[in-house]
Symmetry: C2
Subunit: 211 residues, 2 copies
């Protein structure tokens, strides 16, 4: 089988731990590359060009938009954020599964443009667990927690559009499951048409009985 | 997530090693039950009732047919072979993934009747490898090998109908991949509608802000 990388979207509720999951996935396995976004916002302390973001001027970003150089992009408040196509396609052709950790609205735009993308949604075992995790952090005010829960409730409406739901109860189990789902996807018949046709042709030669 | 077993069909070319793969799968993991066929043929030496087969008289078998008690059945030469429904459904409801190791023609009949069935096809890395394995056994005459290869060539035509293609190059890798594919299937959104709806409902309560 040939191995072209799979564009993999990972979304999940705020507070569900998807950042940690993606980090572990990249640490534990060789198969992945994390897509790095471009942004026009200024770097924050400790952020490095090409690690957290590719930092662009507004003019640079808009030139990229004009050249159709983004997998997707969006504008929040004053700033642009987007996923540069070049990096994603380079990694995919190297056989890396490229992880996009993105919001649900953006995820659906990607699925439209790349129907082959694999979409995973990380969920808590129960809504109560999500609430407790947000409260348990102890860093957020009651108001912030309430607004995050409301946002999660909004996001839940899009959950049904994802290919897989993966429960983050035990972190290591969750990371193993995410890995198993993505690697199993490579074995789908529909992703191996070329290999299958070659095999079909080779096998058909046995009917001639001269091989 | 609830866990209803998945009816899993494993097919593959004669000589590809699917018997060994299924045996290892059952040895290595707790998640599986192997479906045992019923047959009207006489037990061979060493065969035990309920291990290799459930042995039935022709009259018993035909009564079962009349009662729609088979997942599938077929008649080869003088004898009936079939998969009793009761055992399969009992194991599925216990949460076991039930493995049916069956021929390609039968597999497609099952997929029609049970659209939720998961179908895997085991392939050699190349046609040449399959040929060498058959020759390498050293137990078969040239004629038998030629007829098996012809049969494999016929079977290859049905390969495209399976959900997954799994290469048996290294046995342990293959068994791990079969396991990962079946277990990942449990995480499909479409197999967890009830869980998802419960979660959606629970999350929607946060919008009320009184929880």
């Amino acid at each position: 089988m040939n191995r072209k990388g799979i564009l993999t979207v990972i979304s999940g509720f705020s507070g569900v731990g998807k950042g940690t999951i993606v980090k572990k996935l990249l640490e534990n396995y060789q198969e992945y590359a994390l897509s790095i976004s471009a942004t026009t916002r200024a770097p924050r302390e400790g952020e490095q060009e090409g690690r957290e973001y590719f930092f662009k001027t507004k003019a640079e970003f808009e030139t990229m938009i004009a050249k159709d150089a983004f997998v997707e992009y969006a504008r929040f408040v004053e700033n642009y954020y987007g996923t540069p196509k070049e990096y994603v396609e380079e990694k995919l052709s190297e056989g890396k599964d490229v992880i996009l950790e993105i919001e649900i609205q953006v995820a659906m735009k990607i699925k439209e443009k790349y129907p082959d993308a694999l979409t995973l949604f990380i969920v808590p075992p129960t809504p109560e667990v999500l609430k407790q995790r947000l409260i348990g952090r102890g860093t957020e005010s009651e108001q912030v927690i309430a607004s995050r829960l409301k946002r999660a409730a909004e996001e839940a409406k899009g959950m049904s559009q994802y290919d897989y739901l993966i429960v983050n109860d035990d972190l290591d189990t969750c990371v193993r499951e995410v890995h198993a789902v993505i690697q199993s996807e490579h074995l789908k018949n529909s992703r191996n048409t070329e290999f299958r046709k070659k095999l079909e042709y080779g096998m058909s030669q046995f009917l001639k009985g001269d091989k």
